[in-house]
Symmetry: C2
Subunit: 213 residues, 2 copies
Amino acid sequence: MPASGPDPIQELIAALARLPGIGEKTAARLAFHILDQPEVYAQELARALVAVKARVRLCGECQDLTEDDPCRRCRDQSRDRTVVCVVARPQDLRAVDRTGAFRGRYHVLHGVLSPLDGVGPDQLRIKELLRRLEGGEVREVIVATGPSVEGEATALYLSRLIAPAGATVSRLAVGLPVGGDLEYADQATLGRALENRTPVGPGGGEGAGTTKR
Amino acid sequence: MPASGPDPIQELIAALARLPGIGEKTAARLAFHILDQPEVYAQELARALVAVKARVRLCGECQDLTEDDPCRRCRDQSRDRTVVCVVARPQDLRAVDRTGAFRGRYHVLHGVLSPLDGVGPDQLRIKELLRRLEGGEVREVIVATGPSVEGEATALYLSRLIAPAGATVSRLAVGLPVGGDLEYADQATLGRALENRTPVGPGGGEGAGTTKR
């Protein structure tokens, strides 16, 4: 007996093709792979999809995605409360955390200023950041937005807002990647690496071009 | 209050990373995109995943993936019952069907012979194909497996099984792709294109190297 309704394979392909970077052909490949797998795989993936939206919310303090409010990192008393690292997106927070080089607190803006895309200060979690600075406990805010035009503009905007609160504002260094080759570096990056050159030898380690320290 | 159990974001990333061609980084990008979308999107994708496995089965005749048994194409009386196009995978059937150049029936093997991967004749839907040929109605079987070693071996194997049933067996032509450039064609393809050259002009159209016709 003919079933009613649209073809479930086409429906799955259409749903998958709405993911970023997944075209119609890749979506079809994924759909047929899923069809080829035991039913439990599709069920597990479906369960994970529903769970992630049902259980994950924003931490009231750092605005990161979390199941618990306050989140694990905000509850961690071993983390330095005097330094806040501001990132654009939750995945940036995880990238910074993976380095193991930062043991302070985080704050997620959920975007960067981008007037052309209709993203102004009110669309970002800036009010929540300023509220966290009110106690005067925070000494330094590291604005770890990316070195793009929007990321730089966001950092500049935040530095002006934060200055009155008494905290110093710093940025991530821009320069050559570790293991990077001068020959293949883009002009802008190489230019910034030159500008932000750091002294070598005894007493070295501080960036010659570093300001706001 | 801390939630128990694993992090739902990590769980989703792990489930997505099990898809073919999706690494850990792409899976993370997809997961954070899904988190960024309205809840209804994750729910729709989850529903499509469960539906595809719950509703799709194999057609008892052509062995294609279908909701209905027999499938839409097997029920279509306008399709030529005397020609069967044998393909390795359901997605290959769809590729042939999209050309609009074939109006016969299909048969899906669900793989090609590959002894090194443990795929022998019993793992493929070959018995079901031979059963379809028993009536003597089928005149021609087009073995449309890919021009790989396994695809060719499968075609040769099938041709030996099918010959006693009285049907002729043909293969897809191998040659240059439409719009293809001789300079960039691989040696093997160009060699086969030369071997399978077709006459031009009045009386042309049949391949000079075509056999088994």
